[in-house]
């Protein structure tokens, strides 16, 4: 047991560091915790990814034939760690790299692969994932956005929501219902959609924390050529599972923290604890200690998953436990951070304008929902890890149009 790189990992890490140093002047750098707005910094973010792609640091585990390095998930994680260390923000096309690209690789035509993948890695095109709808969140297969065949095209109408990056994206993978007479999972079809096509409208969606990290996307008679279909008609659910499995790989993480890090809480406590009355300090240390322990428990559990990856394993449903634990820790960390503000904890920002802890507090409720609610994750763990039976369901076999679900 050790926390060191293997010789191969160390050498790869050294390589990454030297690349980041060499190209430092061409890369965007940000302060720790600084929010990066994709719209206002779109050009810098695209440039940054292009530079990194040309240096071979983007899509490392992708096959070489599609522009990757044929590398490992661990190498990918090392790149992520080193980007963080160098204060280079997350790649603008992280959804494309983590989810859309692998789906195109698995289910796209040769033509699609050659047109899209290299450009995706260079952020010549930014991608988004168009799955969730207002009426289908946890129950994704209940989606209603329709695609109707018309000659060589499909005509799409409907609405998607919670679409990260849609406001800067050039393409998206779009899950639609093409046969409402079949059972809900069987009537779906996946497409690549041009986000600049007529009839596509993107509207930013503001969260309770005030930021707008997501979008609503409206489709109004949008025409998609049949050649942009991913997989066969009616096979959309199977294609989507590829995407979702890759999402799990993407969040399987190397002990990266959900929410503010234990180090940031520690620094904050060092700053704020002395201002509290002695009895308040006793109680504040309990809250800080509890949050740190939860956070460290989540972090070291992430290290165990990372070790599994580095031994060649794939992240299983246990990744859901990582998100549950991380969310619980984030809640405790954010709460302890706000409380340490003392009198200023009731305001939206401190006197010097710092709102990081209040923002964290208002972001946590979303963490418990986005990417799988706590309740859905518990179902997954109960059923796939503990082997407990699922709830009885009646919605799987009835034709979708019969309103089996309404």
């Amino acid at each position: 047991m050790d926390f060191d790189d293997t010789p191969e990992e160390a050498s790869f890490r050294a390589h990454v560091r030297s690349v980041l140093q060499e190209h430092a002047s061409e890369l965007l750098h940000v302060a720790p915790g600084e929010p990066v707005d994709a719209r206002s910094r779109e050009a810098e973010l695209r440039d940054t990814q292009r530079v990194l792609a040309e240096a071979g640091l983007v899509g490392v585990p992708w096959p070489r034939e599609y522009g990757g390095q044929g590398g490992t998930l661990v190498q990918q994680a090392i790149v992520g760690q080193e980007l963080g260390r160098a204060r280079v923000p997350t790649l603008i096309n992280h959804i494309g790299i983590g989810m859309c690209g692998p789906t195109v690789i698995a289910h796209g035509s040769d033509d699609q692969r050659s047109r899209y993948l290299a450009r995706l890695l260079r952020a010549d095109d930014v991608w988004c994932q168009l799955f969730s709808e207002p009426g289908s969140g946890s129950d994704l297969a209940a989606l209603r956005t329709s695609a109707v065949r018309d000659g060589e095209d499909w005509v799409v109408n409907g609405q998607k929501v919670w679409t990260t990056l849609a406001h800067v994206a050039d393409y998206g993978i779009l899950l639609t219902r093409t046969d409402p007479e079949r059972p809900k999972h069987a009537g779906l079809t996946m497409f690549v959609v041009d986000m600049h096509a007529p009839g596509v409208t993107v509207r930013p969606l503001r969260q309770m924390s005030g930021g707008a990290d997501f979008n609503e996307v409206f489709f109004d008679d949008v025409r998609i050529p049949d050649s942009e279909r991913l997989g066969e008609p009616g096979e959309g659910w199977r294609v989507a599972l590829t995407t979702l499995m890759n999402e799990r790989v993407a969040i399987g993480g190397a002990g990266s923290d959900i929410g503010p890090s234990p180090e940031s809480l520690t620094a904050h406590a060092r700053d704020r604890l002395p201002a509290l009355a002695p009895e308040q300090q006793v109680l504040a240390r309990q809250a800080v200690g509890r949050a740190l322990v939860a956070s460290l428990a989540a972090r070291y559990t992430g290290y165990r998953r990372f070790t599994t990856l580095s031994q060649g394993g794939l992240p299983g449903p246990e990744a859901s436990a990582g998100k549950l634990g991380g969310t619980a820790a984030a809640r405790l960390v954010a709460d302890a951070g706000v409380r340490l503000l003392g009198d200023e904890a009731v305001l939206g920002a401190t006197a010097d304008g710092d709102d990081s802890w209040q923002r964290a507090q208002a972001y946590v409720p979303g963490i418990a929902i986005a990417g799988g609610t706590d309740q859905v994750l518990r179902n997954i763990l109960g059923e796939r890890v503990l082997g407990l039976p699922p709830e009885p369901r009646t919605d799987k076999s009835a034709p979708f149009s019969s309103g089996g679900r309404r």
Binding site: P134, G137, L283, E344, V346, A351, G353, P365, T394
Partner: protein, 330 residues
């Protein structure tokens, strides 16, 4: 034993509900948060309908009502996140017992009064201070009144009108006002617990309504135990909080010796119930629940702020334990 509201109090609650529902759109709380508008219904409307003077003596132009009368109205105010808070009216009414002229101005709304927490030379963020022009504070043991320089911070819940104040003029109203100040704060805590009760109750109802309609996997989500039990736990908290609020308000009126413990219990419990209920309503709504456009976060913000005003749960739990050990529980 008759631990229930009177018919008059039920009527007052129904009237208050009608008033607040009609005069306080939730969009006002969101607009105020965006810096575009002030809390509704505002001081004048509250004065006009008589809510600012419920506990002001009739001789000073008030209704001469009880704290319980006020708490019943405050619950309805809390349900729609009304502002300014009846906590301020309740607390000021106690502090102005010896100043009928000022009490009259409180009741008729001609003075925009706020009560300051912390030093008068630079207060903690204090309720309804943002748009107030006359301030009550505790200064070296004396109750003082005067004007001040107001510094509002960036709001977390704009309906609370929080601001720090540096008093620029000071007139002593009552020397040796420590006990009076403490009692006023206890009464304020009771009324805040009543507002939290209203907010938490409404949040649970919002969650229940949504859980009865929203479908997932072929069933309404309220049929799933994960959702159902979360809502039930929140509801049980609300139900029990109502009991503590009534008890504490009754104690303020009829059993002063019980007030300190009862007020602390209600405030501590109210903070936790409101926090749980409002976190629950966000979670039950899923994605839509954490959008800016949805009302859930307005309730959530109220709970996150209120839990820390007039003493956090830790302070009040400590008080409960100390008072009980000192004999307050018999």
């Amino acid at each position: 034993m008759n631990f229930d509201l009177s018919d008059d109090q039920r009527d007052a609650a129904a009237g208050a509900r009608e008033f607040f529902t009609g005069s306080v759109p939730l969009s006002a709380a969101r607009a105020a948060l965006e810096g575009d508008g002030v809390p509704a219904p505002g001081r004048k409307a509250l004065a006009d309908i008589g809510f600012l003077g419920i506990t002001v003596p009739e001789s000073a132009g008030g209704a001469g009502g009880s704290v319980l009368d006020l708490a019943v109205v405050a619950e309805q105010a809390g349900a729609v996140l009304a502002g300014p808070s009846l906590v301020t009216a309740a607390r000021a009414a106690v502090l102005l017992e010896g100043a009928p002229d000022l009490a009259a101005q409180l009741a008729d709304g001609s003075a925009a009064i706020a009560v300051l927490d912390g030093p008068v030379t630079g207060s903690a963020p204090s309720l309804d201070a943002a748009d107030a022009t006359l301030f009550l504070g505790l200064d070296g043991g004396a109750l003082v009144v005067g004007e001040g320089e107001v510094t509002p911070g960036r709001p977390m819940d704009a309906t609370r009108g929080l601001a720090s104040v540096r008093m620029t003029s000071r007139r002593v109203l009552t020397e040796d006002a420590g006990e009076l100040w403490a009692r006023a704060r206890q009464v304020g805590a009771v009324v805040m617990a009543a507002e939290d009760l209203g907010a938490a109750d409404r949040a649970v109802l919002m969650g229940v309504d949504y859980a009865q309609q929203r479908q997932a996997f072929g069933r309404v989500i309220g049929s799933y135990q994960a959702v159902k039990h979360m809502l039930v736990d929140a509801w049980v908290g609300v139900d029990q909080l109502r009991s503590l609020v009534w008890w504490a308000a009754w104690a303020a009126d009829d059993s002063p010796a019980e007030l300190p413990l009862a007020a602390a219990a209600a405030k501590a419990y109210g903070a936790e119930v409101a926090e749980r209920a409002t976190e629950t309503v966000v979670q039950v709504h899923g994605g839509i629940g954490f959008t800016w456009e949805h009302d859930a976060h307005l309730y959530w913000r109220r709970a996150k702020v209120d839990r820390l005003l007039l003493g956090d749960a830790a302070e009040h739990l400590d008080a409960v334990a100390r008072l009980a050990v000192a004999g307050a529980l018999g």
